[in-house]
């Protein structure tokens, strides 16, 4: 799962740091993630994992780190 998330971030996150150098807790917004690119990341994750994020996990915080993204994807896959 983490590899897929990182691949999506690489393609759509427009981060200033190489994705392979990212830590789980790095703040993605401080590394270039914008509102616009976070939407692309969300849509791409939904496509990649063939799911839809439930309303309750969709928030700015969800995109703030790889750790939070993993957690959100897990919740979505359980539904």
């Amino acid at each position: 799962m983490e590899d897929k998330i990182k691949e999506v971030l690489k393609q759509h996150g427009k981060l200033i740091k190489e994705v392979c150098h990212l830590n789980h807790e790095d703040n993605l917004y401080e590394l270039g993630l914008s509102s616009h690119s976070s939407v692309n990341v969300m849509l791409a994750l939904e496509t990649e994992f063939d799911m839809e994020f439930p309303d309750e996990v969709l928030s700015k915080k969800m995109f703030s780190s790889i750790k939070n993204l993993k957690s959100a994807v897990s919740v979505a896959l359980e539904r």
Binding site: S37, L43, E46
Partner: protein
């Protein structure tokens, strides 16, 4: 939990869910056949939603105007015709509840209406006056303790299915056209003869052809308040508020469909390497939906505050500002709703143009067109134009 222990909100929400499920099952057939939505109306009755505005002391749900608006905003997305029937009936209840409870007969009727979940239709239209409800040709013939009325109505929504009617008429046969009263009579006291066919573009399930009506009733059922005051204080504001709520629910459904389709298209674009995905049309209709909602809520809050003190504050309803605002609510809600549904269809494209897809908007578009012509916005524009000349 026993029904009587459930809070009003829980009752409403539980009932709404059941009614919406029934609506979803039958709405296509209701539209296709242009038939009365018997199943949805029965579900409303089973879940006590027909008596929503009847106060608890008479056995109703005791909903406020705000509660009715919240219900209206939900009902319309599954079957606009059923929702409109419900809304039009609540308007009649509002007239009775606001202006009839100084009358023992009306109070007794309200208790029965709550128990049996009666459906009440409005007979305000009349052949010869067009859509001008402030004039009547037919008058009441008083004979001892009874009244007799013969009226040619150009439109009675669900007229063939109502348990009772609230009709406008001249106070007496000799009264002037604008000296009107409102009278309640039950279907057992009336002969209702259909005179035209209801085969329309939209709102097909409201079944609103013309009827010739003859009724005989105890004169105790003639409301004391002159109709012109009932119109200003209750009928017009509640009509515009509840119609706007139903139109809002149709519009919201359309925006949500457009939003879902946009997401799908953006996902496809991302796969193709297109990163810069924006949909200005979606933003536009969402903005308009918000405008509709804010306007409805402001008018509802203002009217609710007045209704809570109807006898003292109602002179505010006679002000130019209030009349213009209430007219505006109908005009702007209808125009925005039509624009929203049209553009949602454009955004969704073929999946909305096709019937029987999860994104179909054909029936929504046909139903929402009714908002411009029932009653015709031209009438309201003319009235507001005159009022604006009086406003400094």
């Amino acid at each position: 939990m026993f029904v009587q222990e459930m809070s009003k909100k829980e009752l409403i929400l539980t009932g709404l869910e059941k009614v919406c499920n029934v609506m979803k099952e039958h709405s296509e057939d209701v539209d296709k056949e242009g038939r009365f939505p018997l199943e949805a109306i029965s579900a409303m009755k089973d879940n006590k939603l027909m008596g929503a505005y009847i106060p608890k002391e008479y056995g109703g749900l005791g909903c406020s105007i705000k509660d009715l608006v919240e219900i209206g905003k939900t009902l319309g997305r599954h079957c606009a015709s059923s929702a409109m029937v419900w809304a039009m009936h609540q308007i009649q209840l509002a007239c009775l509840v606001h202006h009839g409870t100084n009358n023992e007969e009306i109070k007794t009727y309200l208790r029965r209406a709550a128990e049996k979940q009666y459906l009440i239709a409005s007979i305000t239209s009349e052949v010869g006056v067009g859509g001008d409800i402030s004039r009547s040709i037919a008058g009441i013939e008083i004979n001892g303790g009874y009244g007799l009325l013969s009226k040619k109505a150009s439109v009675i929504s669900y007229g063939a299915y109502a348990d009772a009617y609230l009709a406008t008429a001249k106070r007496t046969l000799e009264a002037s056209e604008t000296d009107q009263v409102l009278v309640l009579f039950e279907n057992t006291e009336a002969t209702v003869e259909q005179t035209s066919i209801w085969d329309t573009l939209g709102m097909r399930g409201t079944c609103s052809p013309g009827f010739n009506v003859t009724a005989s009733f105890s004169k105790e059922y003639i409301l004391d308040t002159p109709f012109k005051d009932i119109a200003v204080q209750s009928m017009v504001p509640v009509t515009h508020i509840l119609w706007a709520s139903v139109w809002y629910s149709i519009s919201k459904d359309a925006v949500e469909k457009a939003q879902k389709i946009t997401r799908q298209k953006m996902k496809q674009n991302l796969k193709s390497g297109i990163q810069d995905n924006v949909n200005y049309d979606l933003v536009e209709i969402h903005n308009k939906l918000n405008l509709m909602l804010n306007n409805i809520d402001i008018c509802t809050n203002k009217y609710q505050a007045i209704v809570d003190n109807l006898s003292e504050d109602c002179k505010e309803l006679y002000s130019l500002e209030s009349s213009i605002q209430m007219n505006n609510l109908k005009m702007i809600s209808s125009e925005l709703a039509v624009e929203i549904v049209q553009k949602a269809l454009y955004i969704c494209g073929i999946v909305a143009f096709l019937n029987q897809t999860p994104y179909s908007l054909g029936r929504s578009l046909r139903d929402i067109m009714s908002s411009l012509v029932m009653i015709h916005n031209d009438r309201l524009y003319r009235t507001s134009s005159s009022l604006l000349m009086l406003q400094k």
